[in-house]
Symmetry: C3
Subunit: 345 residues, 3 copies
Amino acid sequence: MAQLTLGELAVRFGLALRGDPDRRVGSVATLESAAGDQVAFLANPKLVDRLAACRAGAVVLKPPLAASSPVDCLLADNPHAAFARIAAVLHPPTAAPPGVHASAVVADDAVIDASAHVGPQCVVGARARIGARAVLGPGCLVGEDAVIAEDVRLVARVTVLERVEIGARSILHPGAVIGSEGFGYAPEGAAWVHVPQVGTVRIGADVEIGANTTVDRGALGDTVIGEGVKIDNLVQIGHNCSIGAHSALAGCVGLAGSSHVGARCRLGGGVGLAGHLTICDDVTLTGFTLVTGDIREPGVYSGGVPAEPAADWRRVVGRLKRLDALARRVSALERGEGADGGPDA
Amino acid sequence: MAQLTLGELAVRFGLALRGDPDRRVGSVATLESAAGDQVAFLANPKLVDRLAACRAGAVVLKPPLAASSPVDCLLADNPHAAFARIAAVLHPPTAAPPGVHASAVVADDAVIDASAHVGPQCVVGARARIGARAVLGPGCLVGEDAVIAEDVRLVARVTVLERVEIGARSILHPGAVIGSEGFGYAPEGAAWVHVPQVGTVRIGADVEIGANTTVDRGALGDTVIGEGVKIDNLVQIGHNCSIGAHSALAGCVGLAGSSHVGARCRLGGGVGLAGHLTICDDVTLTGFTLVTGDIREPGVYSGGVPAEPAADWRRVVGRLKRLDALARRVSALERGEGADGGPDA
Amino acid sequence: MAQLTLGELAVRFGLALRGDPDRRVGSVATLESAAGDQVAFLANPKLVDRLAACRAGAVVLKPPLAASSPVDCLLADNPHAAFARIAAVLHPPTAAPPGVHASAVVADDAVIDASAHVGPQCVVGARARIGARAVLGPGCLVGEDAVIAEDVRLVARVTVLERVEIGARSILHPGAVIGSEGFGYAPEGAAWVHVPQVGTVRIGADVEIGANTTVDRGALGDTVIGEGVKIDNLVQIGHNCSIGAHSALAGCVGLAGSSHVGARCRLGGGVGLAGHLTICDDVTLTGFTLVTGDIREPGVYSGGVPAEPAADWRRVVGRLKRLDALARRVSALERGEGADGGPDA
């Protein structure tokens, strides 16, 4: 574990320090649990009362809160982001020395940068290129002609299929599959004819892709994931989708083929996009929302219904399914016709 | 990349050719982007206007549209299916030479056809049989007594567990797990006793199974996937399910145990089946639909609610949860009793 | 396959036997299909009529039903649980001899119990500990400092990342990923800063985790899965979640970060929890239910709407989206104001 002084952290991240520049810290922890050699943070000013009991070596917080801190402070306008960077230096990923592990199988004409790490049981296909300082953890697979840019981290058991391109500094978590053939079939009578998927996947810089997430290659054109996009676990991205820069997709989201998501969008867990549609920039979809058509205005959209006690919900569903009849009964009342739906009451 | 003449393609697929039989093409592309050595297609007659700008080497289309094409044509009653077959010969999968890679671990009594390919880091268990021209891409696992028929392609990192049978020409995408033990437990007091799952999975010919999809083995009987079934990514098929021939299941579908889906059904993305139910042949379920009971009539069924602006949706949900009260208020009005629900208005 | 006598089974599991203690049985089957060397069971007294045609070597059932059985009986108060234990001895998992396969890559300072099995293509990191009789099937990955307790079974291709702890007798199915970094980002302008996830995952004894399920490590604290919890395939457990003992989560469930599920809960397929919420003990959520806030009372909760014919459903959805207007029309009628919503009828 790294050990740094508060002074070193302040200089490195351009933060003002209130306290002892020589104090050494080695890890991060929560505000409640941090000990004297740990760094905590407070982002939400409403929680300032929690500072009183803090015993951290230092706490990262906004300048106006410094006076409330009983311990040393690192001052940041964005305490969470500053804390994230401090955590990254105090908790670096497992060391991955340059070189190719003896158990890896690497094609003769693959181009592996000398500073890259190719771990045990990896397979790297013909003409694939692995950039500087890239890390292929154990059991990763990189297909023919794939391009892994510098500083990419394939954590473990990641599958990057042929011709896929992964941008610099991106992180792919275990079990992710990038460049699988999408769900493309031509109907012929009762059967389906497989349509070869000849596009690829292009992933920008600073993208993160979660565990067991799947991103299909394009059918003819490409599937494109923009710079800085963050995708959680168990997400399905269909062929020829595009996702704009800095959008974030939570777990269990599914995008059918040719869905286009703008920049800076946020998709909550379990959201589904029906395919062949476009969502403009700056759209938030709350969890469990189904989208079946274009969204052209930025804003927040929803479609999920929160849980009810089952007995109540069964009654609601019963009523819901007769909602058309109910509306017609209201119209009849409005026309002064009296009851026509008695049995529903 | 393969290079063929239009004449060769016409003969091979039984298509009429309008144009130069000696023109060489090497790949496929979209109608808009195809160059002179590429093949495109037009399936939708409504898009015939797009032909004017086409610069492809040839376009596959229906005979009546040939007159509108500025470039050579291959005529097909089903242009998409014909295009799919042309794409398959122009874009064959990565070559997979016969033989077992030195890094693969193969049981002594496994039976590997001499024409099959067993790639790097594969593991093949005792008594497993791998058929003619079958391809096990890198990192695949085939369990004891499993049977992989001829021309099957396990793309990469596919897990086929013991005794599972995969039919001819089927394609399984990376991360798919076939034959895992299903969710079978006997309740005992507050706890659960694991019920060994002693059935298996039988997958028919010409099936396709998507990336990171899971198919559980049967508890006592078998889980059965019919001929020609196509299953997308991240789909869960519970123990003892059956799926009839030529059905198609889109991404993120979940079938609880003992769900039975008929032939030629189409399940949209995110559809859920509650288990121990039967869906007849020729049923379409649109995306996000939940099925909790048998469906006995062919047709289209739905259950998803498309997104609304969040503020509007919150109001709808509030009203929805009081729908039973609203219906009772309407009944009261019908009985001439006037308002009884003022606070809800 | 094991072969045991009914007498041996009766003694081993403390069951009364009606019949021949020397009859040999070797496998289990359904009541309908079991032959004379097989064991079946009947748990539901309502199905007692099915006994008449039973040809099993023995059937496990409740004592009062013994008189109705035409074949030998093993009597159990909980026939399903007794049957499960009988099935486990007659159908043991594939043998896994002690030792480390030659193709596995094991760190010098990993501690592997002499009775443990480390299969082909496994990777075990520095200082990891593998307990007595634990089985790592082919292609499993155990990260640095991870702890696999005694009798754990990692079926195949399971990923257990650094520092994760797996309790005794737990079973993890293929493709499961335990300890991936969760979806933790600090917003900074339009972009996201990766927040290192420095907690881990602690999994209790007798837990089962399904194929391709993902469990993220905690951000600062830990993600905790209690004793006896059963999790199905393709489930996502976010960072810092906790799940109480003996809860069961069906396929395709998603828990956003910091969701806390009590003990003995049952979550149906496709259920979603919105994160930062608490569900008390003994709650059942039926399939497709979305939970967005705390649940403080035990009971059954729902939120899914079963499928309708699409034409009917479209009408319902149309009405639903105008439900606020409908309610206002009812209020107007209650106030004696007559029709204000004619166009909706």
